[in-house]
Symmetry: C2
Subunit: 417 residues, 2 copies
């Protein structure tokens, strides 16, 4: 018997659907943004599942929560798996949630198989992966590995001027009975299961992706500053219309950056001031999300945006700055190989795949040997209420995760670090 | 002695400055949007001034408030003057407020002069002229003259889903001691004093404008509908990016409409969904405010916008609709002449001027002989914290208003209607 034989496909599906009811929105989607009541409720549900299976529950100051199947040797650093429970404001049922639920299912399967593990296996739900409410995201994993301090994270505010610190206080008040564990504690390796969020696995009918790396990203903000004026009286010659010039700038940016097929360029956020119909806008603040497999191209992106601003703006002033920057990374070769071998032993097709989207596994890859398992996304759709992965594919991913965890537990060390 | 000799320039200025403290924002501006606590407080201050002068105070169901100096013959319809107390979210001290304060100053001057008037003179503060919180504006005057029903007005909601009905209830609860008077009661004539909000009077050093009419306006909404997608994974060929296509559309609209020097084209409001950095926008809703002296050009505007949408949109769908429409109007010739003669008698330069901005006097012009007095705006700036008119110009306008009211009271009827 393999541990994965104990993966309960109906329980996995039922748990995912139960989780999707928390923050459910019309059309089958989910609005469960970081550190909201809905996300707290999702944690509560996972806690109830973990209590049923007698997993140890712990949390840290950064709002991460951990569910542990204890190992024989408590001196050994645990293996970790998991993802996040927060969603985009109009997200789907699977992004993030699948990684947590699959982790808990793998833990239950291992526990029910009676296999004794030498080191602990932990499932984590990282705080604020999405970054839609509190930007930028990946807060929990960045605080865990120490690339952002808890103070930096706590100071971030949402658009209603509510800080992460305020919401973390509420979180810790609600779950005050859960023990705290330190940030930056030792982890043997990390593996995240996730939907692909792209069309490749579906197009080649392959249920499992062994993820080789994550493409780099630059997250920028652009401010166009003009001057407020009366829409009915002010002639064009006297205007400094931030809306007119921001539109023109964004048009130019899309034109320039979309000529590179490998580039992913997106303006997703656009906030004009004062944003009323009869006033010429005095300011527009917009976001740029720019991703590319080649770090060199990312490195020159801010300068290219600044050039386009200089060429496009006539009466307004423009400034651009980078709020988050991550170069393209590669996952641990040993972990990738273990995933491939495990999938093969289960008779599941597996291909190597590169991730266009960012994941907490990126932060963990700086910290310990890490990897990811992808399952297909229908039509490549994600960050959308229509996000979908079939039950069969979800179960296949959970089985590969389960046996991969067992295979990694049995490793004494990694050849490549 | 003329009534205008009793205009107290220091009181006029002090009252305006006291009013500007209510909803004051950094930089000298005012945020006193319609039916907010701040606007209620502004009404309270006017009520206190009116009580000191023994003016009769009344209100109507549409949230308009009236301050009346009684006339000898109560069977005669009153003359009305006034403007509005609400402001844009980052507006100035004078837009609207000046018309109410100048009206109250004229009323006080007439009262203090001892001149007995044959018919009542009322100062009105119309509800929600600006339309920035509840769109479209001009609600109070439109309800008063009957072009919009009270039910239509009450159903309008702000962006926080609060309805006009809810806020009117609060208003009437707060000022429950004030008597109600009916909508659509008879008015002999209406005259509104206002800052120009344009550069003409200042440029020709003329303190008084006798306004000949108001340019027409079309207020439209455009919805661009695309599809939400993950910013990091979705290739351009699979995207329906509402942000990209809305930007391109707005750029084209500005290009087409700004070629006509007499046109005032503005996109002031732009609301994308879900408006987060790492999601391709599924929808953008934006406003168009389009004004032109020629009604014919306004009439074809919606069709021209629809044409541009058809030509610009590649993957998204677009729709345009008109939410408010007003053709160019002319004020009553007799009223214009009375203003000119009155200014001349006071030794004040006066020129005829056309209004680019909309005013409640537009609605009143459909209902009774109406006109407007303009005073200069520094640099033509309005809907802006830097809005400014000198004390001398404000006093000149109030004096012309005061004597114009007396001259109009003494008319038995109008030659032109």
């Amino acid at each position: 018997m393999r541990a994965s034989d104990y993966v309960n496909s109906d329980r996995l599906w039922a748990n995912l659907m139960e989780l999707a009811e928390i923050g459910a929105i019309d059309g089958g989607g989910v609005n469960r943004q970081a550190l909201t009541r809905e996300e707290f409720d999702a944690r509560e549900l996972c806690i109830q599942w973990a209590l049923k299976s007698n997993f140890r529950i712990s949390q840290d100051k950064a709002g991460n929560i951990f569910f542990t199947l204890e190992g024989r040797d408590k001196s050994k650093a645990p293996i970790m798996t998991g993802s996040h429970l927060d969603s985009q404001p109009t997200g789907g049922k699977f992004d993030g949630a699948y990684g947590v639920v699959a982790g808990l299912e793998a833990l239950s399967a291992i526990s029910e198989s009676g296999i004794c593990v030498d080191r602990g296996i932990e499932v984590v739900a990282w705080m604020n992966e999405e970054g839609s409410r509190f930007a930028p995201g990946m807060m929990g994993s960045e605080a865990f590995v120490g690339v952002r301090s808890i103070e930096q994270i706590e100071a971030v505010k949402d658009k209603n001027d509510i800080s992460v610190a305020q919401e973390l206080q509420k979180l810790h008040d609600r779950f005050s009975e859960i023990n705290f564990v330190p940030l930056e504690r030792e982890v043997f390796c990390f593996i995240e299961t996730h939907i692909e969020q792209g069309p490749i696995l579906e197009n080649c009918s392959t249920p499992i992706g062994a993820v080789t790396g994550i493409q780099g990203v630059r997250r920028m903000r652009v401010r166009i500053s003009g001057e407020e004026a009366h829409a009915g009286t002010t002639p064009y010659s006297l205007r400094k219309d931030a809306m007119a010039e921001a539109s023109k700038t964004i048009s130019s940016l899309y034109e320039v950056f979309s000529s590179d097929e490998e580039m992913r360029f997106t303006v997703g956020m656009f906030n004009p001031s004062p944003n009323v119909p009869s006033v010429v806008a005095s300011e527009v603040l917009f976001s740029i999300d720019l991703r590319h497999p080649e770090t060199q191209i990312l490195s020159s992106a801010e300068e290219r945006v600044a050039d386009i601003l200089r060429n496009t703006l006539k009466t307004c002033k423009g400034e651009v700055w980078t709020i988050a920057s991550a170069d393209t990374i590669s996952f641990n070769q040993d972990v990738i190989k273990v995933i491939e071998v495990t999938a093969d032993n289960l008779g599941l097709d597996c291909r190597r795949i590169f991730s266009g989207a960012g994941h907490d596994a990126r932060q963990m890859s700086y910290y310990c040997p890490s990897g990811m398992i992808f399952v297909p996304s229908k039509d490549g759709i994600s960050h959308n209420i229509n996000e979908f992965t079939s039950k069969d594919d979800l179960v296949a991913g959970a089985k590969v995760l389960c046996d991969t965890l067992i295979n990694l537990v049995n490793m004494s060390d990694f050849e490549t670090k």
